[in-house]
Amino acid sequence: MNAAKEEVLRLLDLLPEDASLEDIQYHIYVRQKIDHGLEDVEAGRTLSEEEFDQRMAKWLEP
């Protein structure tokens, strides 16, 4: 079985018996988000806290 299918099976094991399709979709989505974040870290696509503040300036102004 390929890695993606195994991953989904592992996620399914974590979910309660009464999980809905929507729940399953959500957890796969979270899983993908985490992977994207980790890829960013590995590739050095990260911001320092100062850079974050600059980018979010419009929300952080008093």
Binding site: H27, V30, R31, I34, D40, E49, E51, R55, M56, L60
Partner: protein, 178 residues
């Protein structure tokens, strides 16, 4: 140990999108979300290990802390085998029960409760679900004192009742006396 916090591009973009979306209804709540996320991320400079391990992730280095109705998910860069600094929590009996400290694995009891069940409770703060290290637990006792004798008896009792169970659960801790 103070850590450096860095935002991934993906997380920053998601937060921006979430804030822009909320701002359609309320600038105020959009700004509150960004500020909350910023403050939570900032707090991860210390004790980053306190977040919950993310069940969807494959690594226990991926953790999360709730920010409003969102999940702030972060990756804790693993330490080397040795390090120059350590964080130490000094606590009274108040930390002896009810709090989860499984990101710690070294415990020194400098006052020994006379009731072995309380001692067991303390050990259970660090030796619990989510612990990844072998736990080391040291008990300071003054020998040739009444306390020393009480504790010997207590630890004797404890070792019979509890240590067997702990060992079964994988605790390879030290229980020292003297």
């Amino acid at each position: 140990m103070a850590r450096t916090v860095r935002w991934s591009e993906a997380a920053t973009r998601d937060l921006e999108e979430a804030a822009d979306f909320i701002a359609r209804d309320s600038q105020y709540y959009a700004a509150a979300l960004v500020r909350d996320a910023r403050a939570t991320a900032r707090s991860l400079r210390t004790l980053a290990e306190r977040g919950r391990i993310v069940p969807e992730a494959r690594s226990s280095n991926v953790r999360e802390i709730p920010v409003k109705s969102y999940r702030l998910i972060y990756w804790v860069a693993p330490d080397g085998v040795t390090r120059d600094e350590a964080q130490v929590l000094v606590a009274t009996e108040a930390a002896g029960e009810g709090i989860n400290l499984q990101f710690c694995w070294f415990m020194v009891n400098y006052d020994i409760p006379w009731n072995p069940v309380r001692l067991e409770q303390r050990m259970g703060r660090i030796h619990r679900y989510g612990q990844e290290h072998d736990c080391l637990i040291f008990n300071f006792v003054a020998v040739n004192t009444r306390e020393g004798r009480v504790v010997s008896a207590g630890i004797g009792q404890l070792s019979v009742q509890v240590l067997a169970a702990f060992q079964a659960a994988g605790l390879r801790g030290l229980l020292t006396q003297g």
